[in-house]
Subunit: 323 residues, 2 copies
């Protein structure tokens, strides 16, 4: 059973998805459910012997296009809604033992097109208000399947973090008449110390206000709202920016960096959201080769983030690494 | 160096505390820095051979009463402030190998008085806008010192999560004329299934809208704003409620439950905040005996929480456990 329950204390929806408790948990590589199905071998979720990039519905979805009606009763204080939406898995490659750092340039570019395709298709559904493209990578992030893959959640609401960004961007526009994210680009460029890579289309930088260790944002220079608004050259620049960043991450501690990748776009609820600017946030969890950042009391209980490194130091480390 | 940097994208302060990167990390028990100092042995942070409960300033504080001026330059887009505040450690007992579940009833009651004392004293300082009493417990939460202890952060701002609760509570009062938290108490009582324990002063329950596995809230029945407003009988009831809950947690999987404990109170910035209602939130991280909940892409990147168990099931498990 799954449903959305309203959290009146924080003003947000919580998704209950009880069928997920028993989902596939760290299977050995030979039983990977998202490898291609080898001839004669046990059938995986991908019934072909090879593929380039595969997208399909998550077998244990939190949100579904045709969900059952909630079993729990609602009240004025505790509204309940059906958990209608989509949860897709994007398998980056048929090779179990690789990752974004090592796939071909062509594949990385194709992945951007796949994201565009899924954003447009999912965003067009009337019950989808927000398409969230993301990746969880590494056991430290809780990844249960090690085959290189990302995910897409199409929510029936605007999730809290993008909602806060939208509100801040709206306030900034009211105050200054300008785009908050364009202003951040200008400010970062003026300082320069936190920029890791830049070309005419994309800028990769540790923002002044980073909350996670080695947090990096990738912004298109042009003011666009979604990945679908990027032109061909920008899509290629995005693919290259992502892959180069992951290579830097993996070189930093000479092992795969655990991270979350989060793509923030305009909602797909029918509003225009002219003031929002498409971008990607990489949120790593390793603060040294052996120490992780935990979202403990101050972060999880009070929402107040504390970082152990200045954004300038983080950017210097990532800039100087040989990869 | 430490400072507060403004995150214009989310509208919150981020604390940079670079001197914390090398803080004491999982020392062996015989080098525990918060054990009492044994005669003739190496000196710990507590220079006495025994104590009941000890409170002192964190040796690696994120916030300090007399911080240095920030080294980083600010701008209109990126304001900077000094990281002025307090970080205290509350050592619950001289015994390295125990915990709140096993301390005496008298000590548990004294701990509540210690929290009251610290709340009042820290809250009275003009630079302290919010006193956050909390505990991180277990390696899964990132605890680096295993000696039973809690912490207090006295922030120079109202942190994001309490700020959201304050806003929701204010909106609820404007709409209904009533306290949001008193209404939650009524609603939980009407349903009954999620209540784990209750007496005339305190109610312990899994809220309908729980976000963490086995998340439990403890509310005083009376509408009070801070721990200092509790009378003697309520303080005893609070001590008993906390200890009983931790015993349930530890019995659930027959091992210490990793959790964060977060106390939410009225700010100490001079406002009255009549609409806010003191309470404690326990946020555990274990969803089964062997599986942890991770704050991954959906939670950390979008702020959208997904739970694997209904609140009713969580409450039933905690109610039925023998301890």
């Amino acid at each position: 059973m799954s449903e959305l329950r309203w959290n009146p204390m924080l003003g947000e929806w919580v998704t209950t998805a009880t069928h997920r408790q028993d989902r596939t948990y760290k299977p050995p590589a030979e039983f990977c459910p998202i490898c291609p199905t080898a001839p004669g071998a046990f059938p995986t979720e991908i019934p072909v012997p090879d593929f380039d990039i595969a997208v399909f519905q998550n077998k244990f979805p939190s949100l579904r296009p045709h969900p059952d009606a909630p079993e729990v009763a609602e009240s004025a204080l505790y509204p309940v809604r059906t958990a209608q939406g989509e949860c897709e898995v994007v398998v980056y490659t048929a090779d179990h033992h690789t990752g974004l750092a090592n796939v071909s340039e062509r594949k990385m570019r194709t992945l951007v097109d796949v994201w565009v395709d899924r954003f447009v298709e999912l965003g067009a559904r009337d019950y989808v208000k927000y398409v969230f493209i993301f990746e969880n990578r590494g056991e430290a992030v809780g990844v249960t399947l090690h085959h290189p893959h990302g995910q897409i959640y199409a929510y029936p609401f605007i999730p809290p973090t993008p909602a806060r960004e939208l509100k801040q961007a709206e306030q900034h526009r009211q105050k200054t008449g300008r785009c908050l994210f364009c202003d951040i680009l200008l400010e970062e460029q003026k300082d320069g110390r936190r920029i890791i890579a830049a070309d005419e289309h994309m800028m990769t930088f540790v923002p002044f206000f980073a909350r996670f260790p080695y947090e990096v944002h990738i912004y298109p220079r042009r003011h666009v709202g979604t990945i679908a608004d990027l032109d061909e050259a920008e899509r290629s620049a995005l693919a290259c920016s992502i892959q180069t960043l992951v290579r830097r991450y993996d070189a930093l501690f000479d092992k795969p960096m655990p991270y979350m990748m989060a793509m923030h776009q305009r909602p797909t609820d029918g509003g225009t959201y002219e003031h929002f600017h498409y971008h990607i946030e990489f949120l790593p969890l390793a603060r040294t080769a052996t120490k992780l950042k935990y979202l403990a009391g101050s972060e999880s209980g009070a929402g107040a983030f504390i970082t152990d490194m200045s954004a300038e130091k983080q950017a210097a480390d990532l800039k100087e690494v040989t990869f």
